[in-house]
Subunit: 394 residues, 2 copies
C-alpha cells in the first residue's frame, strides 16, 4: 500500500531544517521528493554528531528522498531544474526573499512552464519589512515570537530559550499541512498557487491559544501568567524525577487518597479547583514533600490506581525502553548499507489504508543525479557531458 | 475567495486543545467545522482568563466554527449525530480509547452510514499499551517524550517543563496535516479511512531530528548535548535582553568587527567554527560582556549592518508593536458583538488563490444548534420537541 500522497512529485530546493523536514513529512506519506542540492550539499549534512560523514540531523530530516546535485549558477543547471519542474506538482524553496528572482526560478518563471504548480516559499520573517533581508536562526524567532519570554525564569524574569528548535520544526509541520491543503484544492480546481509561510507567522499562530492568550482581549495584556496552562510539574521522588497533576476535583481527591492526606480535601487553600490554582506554590511544595518519601515506580502505580495523571520524566536514553513507547513501536530500527543500524521515529499519523512509512534513508549527496536525469529522458551522452562540466554532480 | 478546504464538512467531537486547534486550522482554511458539544460545553470555554464567560484560549482554539449541543447520552442524540455524519467528510474525536464503542459512534458504525468518511482518532498514548487508559495532560507527554529532559537545567540536571503546551498544540498541527492528506487521498481514490494520531507519537517524531538525534545511531546515545542546535543565546544589554548568534565564519567576522574585537579573529579558542562550539562557554561570556556596554537598539543596528543574525527578546506585550510583526499584519483585530475588540493571529500560511481567513469568532455554546438541524431537514416541530427533552440545547 502507498501513502496518501503517492503520485505527487515535489522538487525541493530547501536546506537546513524548516524546508527539509516539511518535505520529509510528505515523503513519509508517499510523495516523490527530489532534493536538489548545490555541489557543496545541504550544510546540515555536516553539522553535529554523525557517522561516516553524515549527521544524525540530516538523516532524520531527509529520509525517503532522492538527491540530485545541480549547479544552479550555470545556465544549463537552471535549464535542467526547469525540465524537472515540468514533471513536478510542488516546488519548495526557503532562500531569503529575492533570491529566486536572481536565480531565475521565481514563481512567474516556473508557472510559465508548469501552470498548475504549487509554488511554496518558506521564509524567516516574510517577504517585506525591516527583518526580511536578515538571515534567520531559530533563537531569533524564539526571541521575536514571545517564546523566550514565556520560558523566562519565574524569579528573575530573565528570558530563556527553549532548548530544542521549536520554531524551525513547527514551521516544517505547518508548511507540510499548507502544501497538502494546496494539493487538495488543486484536485478540485485544477489550479496551482503560491503558498507563503514565515517562521514568525507560524510561531505566533502556534503560541497564541495559551502562550499569548493575554493578548486576545485589548486591556488584558498584563494579566497574570496564571493563564499559562503548562506548569512546572517536575517532582523528585526517592529515586528519580516524575510528573503528576490533579486538575479536576475527582483527580484531586484521587491524589489526596494516594498520598494518604485526607486532610488536604478540607484544606482551605486547596478545596476548590480555583483555590488550587491560586495557591499553586503551596500545593506543589506539599506535593513535592510527599513524593520524596518513596521510589518513583511505587508512586506511579499508586497514583495510576487513583486515576491521577502521572508519568516518569524520562531521560532521552530511557525513552527507548519505556513500555508505552515500545508498545506503540514508535521507534523503528533500520539497517542501512554502510551506516549499519539507524533509529528513526515512525511517521506520527497512522493511516489505515494509505500507510506512511520509512522506505529509504537520507540520500547521499547527488546519489540519484543520474537516475533522475534518465527519467527526464536525457541521454547518457548528455549526462556525461553535464558531469564533465560540473553542472551535474554526485 | 474561499479557503483551500472550502466544501469540506468536519463533524468535530473533540474538546480541550489538541483536537479543537486541529479543526480550527482547517476551519481557517475554509472547512465547515461543526463542533458538537455536550450540554456542559467544552471545558476550555471556562478555563483561564476571559471576558463575558468565554476564555481567551477557547476563543483562540475554536474560531470559524459552529457549535451544536447534543446530549449523546440519549439515543436520539446519537441518532441526530449520525444524521449529521451522513453530510460530513471528516469525523474527529479525542475521547480516551474505547469510549466511542461505548457511545455507539465507532468507526465501524459511522462508516456503515457514510462509507467514504475520514474518521480521525486523536489520543494521548495510542490505543493499546500500559498508558492507553490514562487521562493525558500536556506535562505528561513532555515527561515521556524527552522534552523535559532536553529542557533540563544545565548545571543541576533537574528536568524542566517547557512553559507552553507544545505537545498539545503540535499534535493539533500534525493532525491537521494528516486529515488534509487523507482528504487528498480520498479525492483520488474515492475511499475514506481511519487516521490515528497519539500525542506521544507526534512529540517524539517532532523532537527527533535534533532534540533526540543522539538516539539515531545505536551506541551514540550518551553523546554530548553539543549536538543540540538551539543554544541559550540570551544576552543582557545596557537596557534590555537580546539574542545574537554567529555560526559561519563570515558571521563571526561580522560580529568581531561589530564588537570592535579584531583580536578575537586570531583567538585560539574561536578561530574555527568547531572551536567556537567547543569553547561555547567562553564565547558566550565574552559576548555578554561586550553587549552589556550599550543599549539594545544600538547593538541591533550595528550587528545588522555587519550581517549578524540578531533580535530583541520581546515581552509578550512588546510583540504587538514590533515593526516586523506590524509589517506582516500577523495580528488581526476583530470587533465581535458583545465581546468588543478581540485579537487573533492570522492563519500562518498565505495562499495566493484560496486565502485562509478568520471570518467568525468562536461560537457560543450551541449557538448553531437550530441552524444546523434545519440544514439537515429536521422540521421546527421536531426541533422544539428535541429541545424540550434536552436532547438538543443551546
Amino acid at each position: 500500500m502507498k501513502g496518501p500522497l503517492h503520485g505527487i512529485r515535489i522538487v525541493d530546493l530547501t536546506s537546513m531544517i524548516s524546508g527539509p523536514i516539511a518535505t520529509m513529512l510528505l515523503a513519509d506519506q508517499g510523495a516523490d521528493v527530489i532534493k536538489v542540492e548545490p555541489p557543496s550539499g545541504d550544510l546540515v549534512r555536516f553539522l553535529g554528531a554523525g557517522k561516516k560523514g553524515i549527521s544524525g540531523t540530516f538523516l532524520s530530516s531527509n529520509r525517503n528522498k532522492r538527491s540530485v546535485v545541480l549547479d544552479l549558477k550555470t545556465k544549463q543547471g537552471v535549464e535542467l531544474l526547469k525540465e524537472l519542474v515540468k514533471t513536478a506538482d510542488v516546488f519548495v524553496q526557503n532562500f531569503r526573499p529575492g533570491a529566486v528572482d536572481r536565480m531565475g526560478i521565481s514563481e512567474k518563471v516556473l508557472r510559465a512552464i508548469k501552470p498548475d504548480l504549487v509554488y511554496v516559499s518558506i521564509s524567516g520573517f516574510g517577504e517585506t519589512g525591516p527583518y526580511s533581508h536578515k538571515r534567520v536562526y531559530d533563537p531569533v524567532i524564539q526571541a521575536l515570537s514571545g517564546l523566550a519570554a514565556i520560558q523566562a525564569d519565574r524569579e528573575t524574569g530573565r528570558p530563556r530559550m527553549v532548548r530544542t528548535i521549536v520554531p524551525d520544526k513547527l514551521t516544517a509541520v505547518t508548511a507540510s499541512q499548507a502544501i497538502t491543503a494546496a494539493l487538495f484544492a488543486r484536485e478540485r480546481s485544477g489550479s496551482g498557487q503560491h503558498v507563503r509561510l514565515s517562521m514568525l507567522d507560524a510561531m505566533i499562530s502556534f503560541l497564541w491559544p495559551e502562550g499569548l492568550v493575554q493578548l486576545t482581549f485589548p486591556g488584558g495584556e498584563k494579566s497574570s501568567s496564571r493563564t499559562q496552562l503548562a506548569q512546572d510539574l517536575v517532582f523528585e521522588t526517592a529515586d528519580g524525577y516524575m510528573t503528576a497533576g490533579a486538575v479536576s476535583d475527582i483527580e484531586w481527591k484521587g491524589m489526596c487518597e494516594a498520598f494518604e492526606k485526607p486532610e488536604w480535601l478540607e484544606d482551605e487553600r486547596f478545596n476548590t479547583a480555583h483555590k488550587r490554582v491560586v495557591n499553586v506554590a503551596d500545593r506543589l511544595k506539599a506535593t513535592q514533600e510527599v513524593l520524596l518519601t518513596r521510589p518513583r515506580e511505587e508512586w506511579l502505580k499508586i497514583l495510576d490506581e487513583h486515576g491521577v495523571p502521572c508519568a516518569p520524566i524520562l531521560t532521552r536514553e530511557n525513552l527507548l525502553e519505556h513500555p508505552q513507547i515500545l508498545e506503540n513501536a514508535i521507534v523503528e530500527t533500520m539497517d542501512i548499507p554502510e551506516l549499519g543500524e539507524v533509529r528513526q521515529p515512525r511517521p506520527a499519523a497512522q493511516f489505515s489504508h494509505t500507510p506512511a512509512s520509512i522506505h529509504s534513508a537520507a540520500p547521499g549527496l547527488g546519489e540519484h543525479s543520474n537516475e533522475v536525469l534518465r527519467e527526464l529522458g536525457i541521454d547518457e551522452e548528455a549526462i556525461v557531458e553535464f558531469r564533465a562540466k560540473g553542472i551535474v554532480q554526485g
